[in-house]
Amino acid sequence: MRIYNCHTHIFTLEDTPEGFLKYGLGFLPDWVLELLKRLVLKKWMARLALKLLRKPYAVKGLSFHLVGLLSTSSQVFRNLQKFYPPGSRFVVLPLNFAHVGLGDLKVPYAQQLDELIQVKRSFPNDCLLFVHIDPREDTNENNRKFIEKYLERGFSGIKMYTPLGYYPFDPRLEEVYRLAEEKAVPIVSHCSQGGIFYAGKELPKSFLRPQSFNPQAGGKYEFEAAKNEVFCDHFVHPERYIDVLEKFPKLKLCFAHFGWDTIEHRRKRIYHRKELYEGVKKLLLDERYPNLYADISYSLFDKKFSKQLKADFEANPALQDKVVFGTDYFMTLQEKLTESQLYEGFRADVGEAIFTKLAYENPKRFLTSAYYRAS
């Protein structure tokens, strides 16, 4: 059986914005941040800090930096491959941090995509590239053209990361959804609280009273301002996808990090974790939307989650066809588990039959589109 890991990252520190340290350290003066950045950019310092620090958020950041520092995208990918049997395939998800509010990118987003193309050039069958769309980049029509261009060049799907500061129902995404539905192009969308979020100094007004391309009956969105990290939870709630799914019910959409919200967060969030988990589950089982999926990336490190997932599969066998395997490499380094420990542990936890569905059968369906046929 060929394994499909439907959620991995291979971008490096070069692809992040200049002010990345402002995450969690925004209260420090700029010169202190600059000094810290220089220290963290030393590999030995990052390694030492990783050993000494116990704060999960800091460790997450450092693990991320360390991989980013040690490698080019190609090296990260080769490293990832080592953990899996030959012939395994990996969905590689880039991120465009240009609008995250932390300053200019070190290298333009297009260059990150160039790098990924170089990786795929070396591993054309094993590396399945997705292209991240941030609707703030351009107009509705141009965003579609942008996606179309990369799909025609061999990209296999679309990545969305709404906590960077946009809603799934953003009017500038409508044409992208239309294209994705027409061509059965898979979309992976980050759907958990926590992680990277919009870190600009002020929340734009459009966050508080957003426009939808398909507002629900009488539906006007109004959200109360909160701290950025907490406010960005509004972007990931499964209800935000209702407008999208009503207009594009055949859309092939994957809610990433399914189950992460069952895990106890370290910080206060807007929504109850169970609410998000159940919300996604309800959508997955809704027959009006036959092409919805969820991946268990990151969540799978937690044994309690594997147990719960197994129980849910027994209660709702239809759910087994809706979940795909993914690990969120290399974010999972913060849990101090190697990639093989993660995937082999999960495989053992859920059993071979379920794992085959999650890592092979479901991904094959999910990834097949007018542009790519999974085998």
């Binding site: 333009p108 160039d114 193309i117 050039r121 054309p124 069958n125 061999g154």
Partner: protein, 306 residues
Amino acid sequence: MILSPYIDTAISVLFILVLMSLVASFLNETWVDRFNYRGRFLRRMLDDIFSDPINRDFTSLLYRHPLISALYERGKKLPVYIPTHYFSRALVETMADYADNQKIAFEQNPETLEVTPVIQDTPEGLFEKYREAVQGLKHSPLKVLLHSFLMNSKNKSELLKESENWFESYMTQGSYWYKAKMQTRLFIVSFFLVIFTQFDIIITTQQIFNNDILREKISNAAVLFSQENKSLSSVDAQSAKEIIEALNQDIKLPIGWDTQPFQWRNIFGWILSAVLISFGAPFWFDLLGKIVNVRKISSAPSNSKA
């Protein structure tokens, strides 16, 4: 002779400045080398031109070109120098590779489902690829520069020559900027050195002037040093340290916290000392040689009388 104490004092002070400058230069060089300042300066210079936020960070791509990545010291330290012909080849080939990269697509065989990369519709030849890459860039100062190389060349060798010439001029300009930066850096190092060694040029000069034995010993050592070393190339920080130690065994040099406790006026003296040291050892050595010659000339008649 009436001028002798003044000349001997000048010789002694200049000699101390030569030695201190040598130590400061050594410390500065160590610092520059340890943190690969030259390599980072060169990278920043290229970043200023080739890291184009509108298009691509071509500096990163250039540094990944095998011709340049092979210049990394132990695979890690940025190169401190790039030969001009390496640069021009790396630039043209990077641009050609960029043009190819924009045309790569992946095609899936409908039967075997194998995916293969295909480069579509790219011109043959480095020159043509370079031209296509430049034409494909969004308008930016970098595009203007790369285009200017094209304007003056009809083929690959002319293009290489054009970019080589530009790089050479840019590096010449860069060496001036680097010298200016080094001057500031040397001042900082000198400032810490004078505090560490409690070297206040004003107090030191006064002590040498007022102490006949001290003045004679130091000036004699200075004359010997000047005569033995026609240039500074044979003198390094180690020799400077040995000379200072030898002098210290013979007489107590008017330097150091044990001989000069802190006074507020030291602050002005330190700044002045640091400024003078940052002029560099060659400057003071040159001046020392001239003053030693003056001393020789001025002492010649009295010798003949004797």
